[in-house]
């Protein structure tokens, strides 16, 4: 526990907090309250009148097969993205940990993709895999793969998952490297003397000791896949083909800003708000309470 600072003046603490509070109020509480309010209204097609409808929007959204489909897409997308972002990151981190010379260079290079904006990353992948002009698409086709993410749903999902995961690998890599460094070398040496081969050492010593890092990243990556991949999806598929890559966040945008169903879109964003609150609670509950070994 750090000792608490005691302010003799009652207003000074609030004054010092004011900028942060103002930002939170303007950019979070106000829009959130607007969304809550909006989610209980229905607007006529021309935006001339609104009508209070209570929870009707929620009822409608939750019974909408499109919404449930979008839920499914989001879950598949998130699980796939988290896995695809974490497994290679762990592999790279373990490899980079073994490098003796030029360790810093490898790490720096592997961190770069994180600095690329989501939309740019999306464009990159779009160009590489564009069925008509993409260089990798050409290669795939010459290998006999009928590659067309513009028409083929599963392929579109694969493409956005790959683009989203690729960007996140760097971030995960960084945390895994730090996690690996925190494992005392003598533990690995003791295991080597105890007759465990390299693979066995990894699965019985290193991997269990990385568990806190892995869990933390799992939560972070899920949140990322849920909420921060709008830019990539928007750039690569725009939610299509059909609704194959329309995640919950993308649907909020589509329904609200494209289809102008403001009430339903607001109801969806309220549901998302509940999900993000739950995920944050999980993160605080389990991740903040870091496991201490000693």
């Amino acid at each position: 526990m750090t000792p608490r600072a005691i302010f003799p003046n009652k207003f000074l603490p609030y004054l010092l907090l004011a900028p942060q509070l103002a930002i939170t109020a303007i950019f979070f509480y106000w829009p959130a309250s607007q969304a809550l309010y909006q989610s209980m209204l229905r607007e006529d097609p021309f935006g001339l009148s609104t009508q209070f409808v209570g929870l009707a929007n929620f009822r409608h959204v939750l019974n909408d097969p499109n919404y449930l489909h979008s839920f499914q897409v989001t879950i598949v997308f998130s699980v796939a993205t988290a896995l695809l972002a974490m497994v290679p990151a762990l592999f790279l981190a373990v490899m980079a940990d073994k490098v003796v010379r030029g360790r810093g260079i490898y790490r720096t290079l592997l961190i770069w993709p994180y600095a690329i904006a989501p939309a740019i990353a999306g464009m990159l992948w779009l160009f590489l895999f564009n069925p008509s002009i993409g260089s990798i698409a050409v290669m795939l086709r010459s290998l006999g793969v009928y590659w067309d993410p513009l028409l083929n749903g599963p392929q579109a999902v694969i493409l956005v998952v790959a683009a989203a995961a690729w960007k996140q690998i760097s971030y995960n890599f960084l945390f895994f490297v730090a996690g690996l460094q925190a494992i005392p070398k003598s533990l690995v040496e003791a295991a080597a003397i105890d007759g465990a081969g390299e693979t066995k050492r990894f699965w019985t010593i290193i991997f269990p000791l990385l568990a806190p890092t892995t869990f933390f990243l799992l939560v972070i990556n899920t949140v990322y896949a849920f909420f921060d991949t709008f830019g990539i999806i928007h750039a690569v598929t725009g939610g299509g083909p059909g609704k194959a890559t329309e995640t919950l966040v993308y649907k909020v945008y589509n329904d609200g800003f494209v289809n102008l169903l403001l009430g339903e879109s607001a109801a969806q964003s309220v549901i998302l708000m509940v999900i993000v609150v739950a995920l944050t609670a999980v993160q605080f509950r389990y991740v903040e309470r870091r496991v201490h070994y000693g």
């Binding site: 003598s186 040496e189 003791a190 295991a191 080597a192 081969g197």
Partner: protein, 356 residues
């Protein structure tokens, strides 16, 4: 149980630093060999080379007559106790001890039997389900020992295993380790920077400095006849008094011109340093004690009573001298006294720090 032979062992790190320079050492079956020296002297590097955790730049290491240079740590049939114990934090005490046996595919009932036997010897039976973080320092130390013993290896390696314990526990564990090693009869190599630990534990003591072996021998032999100036200053507490000598023949005198009294002391021209252990010095009260002794006049600067003994710090000429006397002393700082040492108890070293 095994012998260990090191032949011309060298270790040069990629940066060019030579951590170990041409070490030769033969450890007989069942002996407890202690490597002692200040930090950075290469003792841990040497131990890690025996363990297979560090590559060998030059030379040969043989365990039980078999060259092990190219063998991995697992194939050398050794067990090691680390300074920080290196217990697997996510495993129970039982699993920590069983880990090595499982890796060697020992049948389960056999593992269980061995772990429980060793746990009983080390009084760990009631802790088997605990995690390492739920144990005290002494208990962790015991688990680390248990993990080594349960494997029943040819060779035990200890890397400063007691340095994380408090003084009282350290003394206790020291005795325990010695007894265990004796009763198991397993050849052991023990690294420490603590000379008391080294003296009390060792069958064979190896004093190292700056990558070189300074002296190998039984602890008391080393104590009584240190081969070099370094060994003389490193072994013994408080350390040996080292007095620089005046060059040239003639009456023995210190470098600052202070003459050494008494009779029977004759020094060769090569002698540059005179060593006297604090406990070999005695207070001279009358002239009868001059024969066969070297006598120094000292001015007392400070007195440290420690209970059973007292240390008198004084100056002979410009050199600081420590005298150990039994019990308490009534002397006061500032007083001039005479102290003497038997000529047979003196250690003389030449320019290169080699015993004459």
């Amino acid at each position: 149980m095994a012998t260990v032979d090191l032949k011309n062992i060298r270790k040069i790190y990629p940066g060019g630093f030579e951590a170990v320079k041409k070490v030769n050492l033969a450890i007989r079956d069942g002996a407890l060999c202690v490597l002692v020296g200040p930090s950075g002297c290469g003792k841990s590097t040497l131990l890690r080379m025996i363990a297979g955790l560090e590559s060998i730049t030059e030379g040969e290491i043989a365990i039980d007559g078999r060259m092990v240079n190219e063998l991995g740590p697992a194939e050398r049939d050794i067990a090691m106790v680390f300074q920080n114990y290196a217990l697997y934090p996510h495993m129970s005490v039982y699993d920590n001890m069983a880990y090595g046996l499982r890796n060697r595919r020992m049948p389960k009932p056999e593992i269980d039997k061995r772990v429980r036997e060793v746990a009983a010897t080390l009084e760990l039976d009631h802790l088997l389900t605990r995690r390492p973080r739920e144990l005290s320092g002494g208990q962790r130390q015991r688990v680390a020992m248990g993990r080594a013993i349960v494997r029943n290896p040819k060779l035990f390696l200890f890397d400063e295993p007691l340095s994380n314990l408090d003084a009282k526990l350290r003394g206790q564990m020291r005795v325990e380790i010695k007894n265990l090693q004796r009763s198991l009869g397993v050849t052991s190599v023990y690294v420490t920077h603590d000379q008391l630990e080294a003296m009390t534990l060792a069958d064979v003591l190896v004093v190292m400095n700056a990558g070189n072996v300074e002296q190998i021998g039984a602890p008391l032999d080393i104590y009584e006849k240190p081969a070099t100036l370094f060994v003389a200053s490193f072994i013994g507490a408080p350390p040996m008094n080292l007095l620089p000598l005046r060059h040239g023949e003639g009456r023995a005198a210190l470098a600052d011109g202070t003459e050494i009294g008494g009779s029977g002391l004759s020094l060769s021209g090569e002698a540059t340093t005179l060593g006297i252990r604090p406990e070999n010095l005695f207070l001279v009260t009358n002239n009868d004690e001059i024969g066969g002794n070297a006598i120094f006049e000292i001015v007392i600067r400070a007195i440290e009573p420690v209970g059973a003994e007292s240390f008198i710090y004084g100056d002979v000429g410009k050199t600081r001298l420590v005298v150990r006397v039994a019990g308490k002393t009534a002397m006061e700082p500032g007083a001039k006294i005479h102290v003497g040492a038997k000529v047979a108890d003196l250690h003389v070293f030449d320019d290169a720090g080699i015993r004459i």
